[in-house]
């Protein structure tokens, strides 16, 4: 039972992180390799808000989420907007440079110390026994509920709302969408904003669960195989992808060796690339080689 619980919690974290990768790729066909840094900076926003403004968890989280959302918009309008129409390779390199810049800024502003935002939030990360042999922490529950809520809201908005429909149109055929009067930059900015928000929220929860340091961005990179397994442009695919990769890691820890958990996600990814390179639910198309 504990094994299943661990898998669900890890998969939920991956779902929260990978939502951002998929949204940006789906809207603008850009692979954002700075997503791990956006995740980490969300944790630092929470930490800063908590020690300087609000000590309560709800206002702190809300304000930090607004900061993350705003950061996504700023990144798009002041940087990624200029890459629209340029080659995919160039846009990806820009995100790599952005990641390096964000990492440097984080270290300069917050230093490289290990911080614990939870200390200042007035919350405890206590454990809860759900079933006889399964224990879960408070932030483990928040990861699961947060991921479920985010995906439900996104599915509903993308399927039934006007802006969701337009965002899908922009992703599928930007030329046609712009000719129909849909403002491309607005919807690209939305995708960056929501991606930064979801990554930032994942970072905030992870910071409360395990502490915060600049090295946390590597978790964002570790989650990347999930996206490729599920399908780079499929939000639906992230869920089974996250479960498969999380399960592979947990099984590797329990039945092979703890060190094997590092390579397990990439072995799953390799297997998927051999069998179905576009992922479980991705679009079968000519994949541009980066």
């Amino acid at each position: 039972m504990q094994l299943i619980m661990n898998t669900v919690v890890l998969a939920s974290l991956y779902c929260l992180i990978c939502c951002g990768y998929v949204l940006i790729y789906r809207a603008s066909r850009v692979l954002n390799l700075a997503h791990g840094e956006l995740m980490t900076i969300g944790g630092y926003f929470l930490f800063t808000v908590t020690i300087n403004l609000f000590a309560g968890p709800i206002p702190s989280f809300l304000l930090a989420c607004i900061f993350s959302l705003t950061l996504g918009f700023i990144i798009y309008f002041f940087l990624m907007r200029f890459m629209t129409g340029e080659s995919v390779f160039a846009a990806v390199l820009v995100t790599v440079a952005l990641g390096i810049l964000l990492r440097g800024l984080m270290t300069s502003i917050w230093t490289s110390q290990l911080w614990h935002p939870l200390q200042h939030l007035g919350m405890e990360n206590s454990s809860h026994r759900l079933m006889e042999e399964a224990v879960i922490s408070t932030f483990g529950i928040i990861k699961i509920l947060g991921a479920a809520f985010l995906y439900l809201v996104l599915f509903f908005c993308l399927k039934f709302t006007r802006w969701g429909l337009r965002m899908r149109a922009v992703g599928e055929n930007p030329l046609l969408a712009s000719r129909r009067g849909i403002k491309l930059h607005k919807y690209y900015a939305f995708s960056w904003g929501i991606a930064a928000f979801s990554g930032g929220f994942a970072g905030m929860i992870q910071a409360c669960d395990s502490g915060l340091d600049p090295g946390m961005f590597v978790i964002g990179l570790k989650a990347f195989p999930v996206v490729l397994v599920g399908g780079l442009d499929s939000l639906v695919g992230v869920i089974p992808g996250a479960f498969i990769v999380a399960l592979a890691e947990i099984l590797a820890i329990n039945y092979i060796s703890p060190q094997a958990s590092e390579s397990a996600p990439f072995i799953v990814l390799l297997a998927m690339l051999l069998i179905r390179p576009w992922g479980l639910f991705g679009t079968k198309e000519e994949l541009e080689r980066v």
Binding site: N6, T111, D213, G215
Partner: protein, 391 residues
């Protein structure tokens, strides 16, 4: 014509700036440092840099050493071997330093040691793990180390402490991070436990970093461990402990006390979490601790004063080295001073730090164990200084 003249003058000034050294640098003891101020491990090495800066600012304000100021030339290698190599070359060939200091991950050691050996400049490891070459009997003539933790000696002390403290059968869980130094030490501890009658029931080697330490902790718990021993970077040590507690594990945990251990004991407030190390905690409130705290506040260190002890020790050792280096100094004189060094670490360690020709680690190392005591609402010493000979 005017444009050409201006360009020519600009070029002339530039060349002069390159060729002329400031008088200060020529009159000073030049020490070159290549440190991970940013990048992996910066949370450990950043405070070392701060402590060195603060310490020598005060030394220079008092008139320097032997009447000469000390100039630290600090480069950030971001824990990258290629940058460390470039830093070492630049410091030795351009800046002509007397001594190199490395405070970075062990992956940066080989390129820096190569430069040190090539140009016969001693290299001092301050804050990073001590390489095998500083231990007796086969000591490298150019490598020296003042860092608190020491492979194999730490585990010898730790396991003997666990056996003594347990007062009964011990089922030991072992925790490492998947980096060579941590894995090697925990493998050594596992072998040592067999000779000490301690049953090692599980060993977890966590990847760096890991999104969730719960699966690793779950295995330690399900193996029935009543004690756990961790020798890894602090983030790994404390996260596995917290994951164990979240799973309802009630055993006792002993971890190596890195620079943030004291603050973390106060945060966790868990009576079952023990830390051991060779540096005294600020909770002792000795004169030297008060001095470090005051200096840190005066100079507005970006790191908490509780994290400056390791760097302060390195600075104290460096000051003593330079005091024993006659003017005009050269790397060979510095090395000669380092080979017969005995430094009073003034309450920061259990005893003096002494180097000899055959021992560039220390002739004896002293350990202490601390933990949080909820009845006293503070950090307490569980086991006072225990001396181990380094042979």
């Amino acid at each position: 014509m005017l444009r050409k003249t201006l360009l020519g003058m600009g070029l002339l000034f530039f060349i002069m700036a390159l060729l002329l050294r400031p008088a200060f640098a020529q009159d000073a003891y030049l020490v070159g440092c290549s440190m991970a101020v940013t990048g992996p491990g910066a949370e450990i090495y950043g405070p070392v840099k701060d402590a060195l800066d603060i310490y020598f600012k005060e030394v220079n304000a008092r008139g320097g050493i032997n009447g000469h100021p000390v100039k630290l030339i600090i480069e950030d290698n971001a824990a990258q071997p290629s940058k460390a190599a470039a830093d070492a070359k630049k410091l030795v060939t351009q800046d002509k330093v007397l001594l190199l200091i490395n405070a970075s991950l062990s992956s940066t050691y080989a390129p820096m040691v190569q430069v040190a050996q090539q140009f016969k400049v001693p290299i001092f490891f301050a804050g990073g793990v001590c390489p095998d070459e500083v231990y007796p009997p086969k000591t490298d003539p150019y490598q020296y180390c003042s860092t608190a933790f020491g492979a194999k000696y730490d585990s010898r002390f730790a396991l003997s402490f666990i056996k003594e403290e347990a007062k009964g059968p011990v089922k030991l869980g072992l925790v490492a991070m998947n980096i060579p130094i941590s894995r090697g030490e925990i493998d050594f501890a596992e072998e040592l436990s067999k000779t000490m009658g301690i049953e090692a029931v599980d060993k977890e080697v966590t990847p760096p970093p890991t999104p969730d330490y719960t699966p690793f902790a779950a295995k330690i718990k399900s193996a029935g461990a009543n004690w756990a021993y961790a020798w890894a970077p602090w983030g790994c040590e404390v996260r596995v402990f917290e994951a164990l507690r979240k799973l309802g594990w009630e055993g006792k945990y002993l971890a190596y006390a890195h620079i943030n251990a004291e603050d973390e004991l106060r945060r966790l407030k868990d009576d079952g979490f023990y830390v051991f190390g060779t540096n005294a905690f600020f909770a002792d409130n000795s004169e030297i601790h008060k001095k470090i705290k005051a200096a840190s506040e005066r100079e507005k260190s970006i790191f908490p004063y509780t994290q400056l002890a390791e760097g302060w020790i390195a600075a104290t050792v460096l000051e003593e080295i330079l005091k024993k280096t006659p003017w005009p100094p050269d790397p060979e004189k510095v090395r000669s001073a380092m080979n017969q060094l005995k430094v009073d670490i003034k309450g920061l360690k259990g005893g003096p730090l002494a180097w000899t020709m055959d021992n560039h680690y220390r002739t004896a190392t002293y350990y202490r164990v601390y933990k949080w005591d909820s009845k006293k609402n503070g950090i307490v010493i569980v086991k006072d200084w225990t001396r181990l000979e380094v042979k």
